[in-house]
C-alpha cells in the first residue's frame, strides 16, 4: 500500500479544479441560503448557465472568451430574475420548488433544443479555454509541484480558481458586515419584521439571488475553461445537493464555511476512494471490486455526514449557541 500516493492524490483532488468549482458554487449559495435564507435548489442551473454561455460564445459563435465571461454573468442575472420575480414574493418554499424544477428543465432543454448551437446530448467540446491557457505564466517545461500533481495547465486554472475564491470571500465579508448584510440576515430571521421596519425585502432577496447566481456562474465559467467541455448530463441535481452538503459541513453563514466545507468534503471523498482502491489492489479487501469504489465512497461519506449532523449540527465553523436559538 502506497500511503504517500494515496495522500498526494487525495490532497490534489481536495484542492483541485472540481473542488474549486464546488467551492465557488458554495460561496454563492452561502449568500443566498446562509445569509439571506433563500432556498435555492437550482444551484446547478446557475453553474450550467455560466458554463453553457462560455461554450456557446466561444465554440458556436467563435467569439472571444473575454466577451463570453460577461455574457455568462449576464445569463446568470437573467436566470435569477426569471426564477426570482415570480417566486420571491411568495412563501420561501416556492423558490425551492421552482428552482429544482428549473434546473432539471434547463438540463433537459439544452440536451434537446437547438443542437446546432447547444450541441445536444454531446454538449460542446473543443478548445473553449484556449485564450485563458495561452496566458499561462508557468514555464513551458514545468513538470509538477511536489505532492500536488497537477499538470501545467491545471495548475494555472487552480491558481486563478483559488484567486477567485479569495476575491469573492473578501467581497462577501465586506457585504455581510455592512448594513446591507444586516438587512439580508434580518430577512433570513423574519421577513415580516424587516418589512415592518421599512425595508423593501423583495429587492434585497433579488439582489442576493443575483449576486449569488453570478458567483455560481463563475464556477461554470471555470468548469468550461478547465475541462474544455460542457455536457448537459454533468449538470444533474446531485451537484446542487453536494453544494448544500459542503455548505452545511463547513458552516452556513460563515465566510470560511464554503472553503472549509469544500476541502473537507473532497478530501474525505477522494481519500476514501483512493484508500479503497489501493486496499483492493493490495488484497486487503476481497469482497469489493475496484468498480464498487465509486459507490462505496458515497455510502461512507453519507454515514460520516449523518454522524456530523448528530454530533456537530452547526458544521465545522458554526456556532452551537446560535443553532440552539432556533429551538426557542
Amino acid at each position: 500500500m502506497d500511503w504517500a500516493f494515496v495522500f498526494s492524490q487525495t490532497l490534489t483532488q481536495a484542492l483541485g479544479i472540481t473542488a474549486i468549482i464546488y467551492c465557488l458554487a458554495a460561496i454563492g449559495l452561502n449568500l443566498q441560503f446562509g445569509y439571506t435564507g433563500l432556498l435555492n435548489f437550482g444551484v446547478v442551473a446557475f453553474v450550467a448557465s455560466g458554463a453553457y454561455a462560455i461554450g456557446v460564445i466561444v465554440l458556436t459563435f467563435e467569439l472571444s472568451l473575454w466577451l463570453a465571461i460577461p455574457v455568462a454573468m449576464g445569463v446568470a442575472v437573467l436566470l435569477s430574475l426569471l426564477l426570482g420575480i415570480p417566486t420571491l414574493r411568495l412563501r420561501a418554499d416556492y423558490l425551492a420548488i421552482v428552482t429544482i424544477a428549473a434546473s432539471e428543465l434547463l438540463r433537459l432543454t439544452v440536451r434537446t433544443v437547438l443542437p446546432d448551437y447547444l450541441g445536444g446530448t454531446q454538449g460542446l467540446n473543443g478548445k473553449i479555454g484556449q485564450q485563458f491557457h495561452d496566458l499561462n505564466p508557468l514555464p513551458a517545461d514545468f513538470e509538477s509541484l511536489p505532492v500536488l500533481t497537477w499538470t501545467r495547465q491545471d495548475l494555472w486554472v487552480v491558481i486563478v480558481g483559488w484567486g477567485l475564491i479569495a476575491l469573492f470571500s473578501v467581497l462577501m465579508l465586506l457585504l455581510v458586515r455592512s448594513p446591507w448584510g444586516r438587512v439580508v440576515k434580518g430577512i433570513r430571521e423574519d421577513e415580516d419584521a424587516v418589512i415592518s421596519l421599512g425595508k423593501n425585502t423583495f429587492a434585497y432577496k433579488m439582489q442576493s439571488l443575483v449576486v449569488g447566481g453570478i458567483i455560481m456562474a463563475f464556477g461554470g465559467i471555470l468548469w468550461a475553461v478547465a475541462k474544455q467541455s460542457v455536457q448537459p448530463d454533468t449538470f444533474v441535481p446531485d451537484f446542487t445537493f453536494f453544494v448544500y452538503t459542503i455548505l452545511l459541513l463547513g458552516g452556513a453563514a460563515r465566510i470560511l464555511g464554503p472553503i472549509a466545507g469544500t476541502i473537507i468534503f473532497w478530501f474525505l471523498l477522494a481519500g476514501i476512494g483512493e484508500f479503497l482502491g489501493q486496499a483492493i489492489q493490495a488484497g486487503w479487501i476481497d469482497f469489493l471490486k475496484p468498480t464498487d469504489v465509486g459507490a462505496i465512497r458515497f455510502i461512507l461519506m453519507g454515514l460520516g455526514l449523518m454522524m456530523l449532523m448528530i454530533f456537530r449540527p452547526q458544521g465545522i465553523f458554526g456556532d452551537k449557541k446560535e443553532l440552539a436559538l432556533d429551538a426557542r
Partner: protein, 303 residues
C-alpha cells in the same frame, strides 16, 4: 384614577385631551386633526367577517387604545392598515394620503410603524443589530455603497448612539451584544418596541406591547409611551389590561366581532353598557373584571 395623574400630564397630553373632550362619543366620531382615516374596511376569512369597520379616525398626537375581546379583529385590523393583509373592500388615508394597497414597507417608511402581537425578534442577530435595522435611510443598506465603509460609518455610529439611548430606556442596555433569541419573552416585547421607535415613526401601532412585561417595568414603559407622545408621535395600541388602558390613553376605541361598537375617553367607555356586555356577555374573563374599576361596578356581569 385620572385625577392622580393630571399633574404629570405634559403639554401635548393636555392639549389632546382638551381637544378630544369635545369629540362625540360614538363609533366613527370625527376628530379635529386625524392622522388616519379608514372607511368601509372589511376583511372576510371564508364565511367569517373578521373586520368590518365603517369609519374610524385617529387623532394626531393622541394615545388611542384599541380594545375588544379575543377574536374581535384588532390584530387583523392592524394587519390591514399596515398593508400586511389585503382587505376585501375599504380605503384609508394616512396624513391625508390614500394608502390602501400600498406596500407595507412603504407605509413603514412614510412613518406608520407597527409591532406584532407574536413578537418577531430576529433571533440569530444581536440586540444591537436588531435595533440598527430599525434606522431609516441608511446609506450602507444600498448594495454598492455597502462595500465602501467610509460612506456609511458616520451614519452607523450616529444610529448606534440612538440605539444605545433607546436600549437604556427599555432596560436592555446590558443585552446589546447578546443574540436577540436569548432574550426572555417580555424582553423581546421591549426590544420590538424599541426597534420600532428607532425609525422615529409618526404613528406607532403596538399590538399588545405589555403582554408578558412585569408590572414594575410596565410602569416605566407607560412613562416612555407618554414621553414619545410628548415628542410628537401618535400611538395606537391594542391592550387587554384595562388598568393600563385607563392610565395612558386619551381615547379608547372598542371593537367586537369586527365592528367598532364604542368610542370615547377611557372613563366613559368603560362605563358603557354595550362595552361591558361585549366583554362580559360572551367571554367572562376574570382578569378583566378584577382590573377595570368600571367593569367591577357593573351589575354582576351577565356570564
Amino acid at each position: 384614577m385620572p385625577a392622580d395623574h393630571t399633574e404629570e400630564l405634559g403639554p401635548q397630553a393636555r392639549a389632546t385631551q382638551a381637544v378630544l373632550a369635545s369629540v362625540e362619543r360614538r363609533p366613527g366620531a370625527a376628530k379635529p386633526d386625524p392622522i388616519l382615516i379608514a372607511d368601509n374596511v372589511k376583511r372576510q376569512f371564508g364565511g367569517l367577517v373578521a373586520v368590518d369597520v365603517e369609519h374610524v379616525q385617529i387623532q394626531r398626537g393622541s394615545i388611542t387604545a384599541l380594545i375588544g375581546p379575543n377574536g374581535a379583529g384588532k390584530t387583523t385590523f392592524f394587519n390591514l392598515l399596515t398593508g400586511f393583509d389585503a382587505p376585501n373592500t375599504g380605503a384609508w388615508t394616512f396624513n391625508t394620503r390614500q394608502v390602501a394597497g400600498t406596500a407595507p414597507f412603504k407605509l413603514a417608511r412614510m412613518g406608520m410603524v407597527r409591532t406584532f402581537q407574536l413578537t418577531k425578534a430576529l433571533s440569530r442577530m444581536t440586540v444591537m443589530d436588531n435595533m440598527l435595522l430599525g434606522a431609516k435611510g441608511q446609506i450602507g443598506e444600498r448594495f454598492l455603497s455597502s462595500f465602501i465603509a467610509p460612506l456609511w460609518k458616520g451614519q452607523e455610529s450616529t444610529n448606534r448612539a440612538r440605539a444605545e439611548a433607546l436600549l437604556a430606556r427599555f432596560n436592555l442596555a446590558e443585552k446589546a451584544g447578546d443574540f436577540a433569541g436569548s432574550l426572555s419573552g417580555g424582553q423581546r416585547k421591549l426590544l420590538e418596541m424599541a426597534r420600532a421607535l428607532m425609525s422615529g415613526p409618526e404613528l406607532v401601532m403596538l399590538d399588545e406591547p405589555m403582554a408578558g412585561v412585569n408590572p414594575a417595568l410596565t410602569q416605566s414603559l407607560l412613562q416612555h409611551i407618554k414621553a414619545i407622545r410628548e415628542e410628537g408621535t401618535t400611538v395606537l395600541f391594542v391592550e387587554h389590561d384595562m388598568d393600563m388602558v385607563h392610565d395612558i390613553s386619551d381615547w379608547v376605541i372598542v371593537m367586537a366581532q369586527g365592528q367598532i361598537i364604542a368610542e370615547g375617553p377611557p372613563d366613559s367607555v368603560m362605563k358603557d353598557q354595550g362595552v361591558i356586555d361585549a366583554y362580559l356577555g360572551a367571554h367572562h374573563d376574570k382578569q378583566l373584571t378584577s382590573t377595570g374599576e368600571a367593569l367591577t361596578e357593573s351589575p354582576g356581569g351577565s356570564a
